[in-house]
Amino acid sequence: MSFLSLEFLALAAAAVVALNSLAGTPRALAFLALNGWFVTSQLGRAGALSSLAFAAAGLALVHAGGRWPRMRPWGVALVVVAFVVMRRYTFLDWIAPAGLLPRGLATAGLSFLLFKILSAAFDAWGQDARPPGVLEFANYCFNFTTFLMGPIQRLGDFRAQWSGALPLPPTFEAHLDAFNRVLRGLVKKYVLGAALHGWTLYAVADPSALAWGELGWRTVAFYVYLYLDFSGYCDVVIGVGSLMGVRPPENFNLPFLAGNVADFWLRVHRSLTTWLTDYVFNPLYVRLLRSQRLAPLGATSLALAVTMLTSGLWHGSTLSFLLFGLVHGVYLIAFRVYEHVLARRLGAKRARAWRQSAPARILGVALTFSATSLAYVFFAVDSAGVARILHRILDPWLGLP
């Protein structure tokens, strides 16, 4: 279902009317029916059913983990293994006979569904929040504005807005702003992004065979294209969600202006970054510090490496995405080491003054833009292509066969 289709227009209009005019269980049932329509149109009946089974397992995890705390790690492990099998990670083919692995299960939206389920479970267990009921959980998981590509909304945020904390003031201007947000997203995705598509890495059959110059400019175009496509998508769903009364969280904030790679991750896919910070980086960092085996910089580096590898694995099921996470882990560790060395050499006050100076800012933005553009190559080139590019880079130095 394209955003530029009568079907989506009808779905969005029906959701805005239903959520603003109904109340209680009828409102929840109407929203569930609309979400079911969207998910079935995207995944087909079998795909929708497999996603439904996965969400049911998630709801069972939330409730069983609340009742039996000792079972939590096992429950989380089971859900993650189910995700890995459904998502068909390529490494599964190395360890399991092909006939054993199920085929034709839904993969679209599954990564987002996994992170929604896990955050709902962790929040219900850790913050003593009320566990969700079946209808609430189903609408949270299959909310058509966040199902396919995020943003990753937390259950608490969804629940607060669903039960009355409206995201928009009741004025014509606020509604016009939300409507314009939808239009802006459509223009970004279908006009600007579509026009740029032919200039990106997606438009060539084998990016690893390109001359260095063309690989460079196509990589930058690819980064801009990904931004327009994904942030345009987010603008549409945030606008529609605002009009409905359940707005997804903000996800982008001009990433091209990021002054360093840590800043970049707060400006790109922010809902994923905050998820990974809350549920992977922070707990691991605290545990490593408490173990007293590592200094703070070592603990930060190890926690960053694990977090970014998790991010890479979450983004896709092939080796290329693992490399994407690895490269960003290296970037972030290098940035933390640079900050550490800078503070030790110059002292905190002079280091801060240098970071705020115009040359440091310009250099930071240029370096961050180049480094983050480069990492997006892994989104368009498979692992064999990456190996070919590395071979071309290293060949003049090492004389590889």
């Binding site: 394209s2 006009v191 598509h197």
Partner: protein, 34 residues
Amino acid sequence: MKSRLALKLLWTCALVFALVLGARSAADFIYRGF
């Protein structure tokens, strides 16, 4: 207040215009969609 609203409505028209013309010329999305 009124002039701000008028500007926003003008922006709406510009976006619709860009979408209809741009999406058609760039990738034929309007025809495919509708």
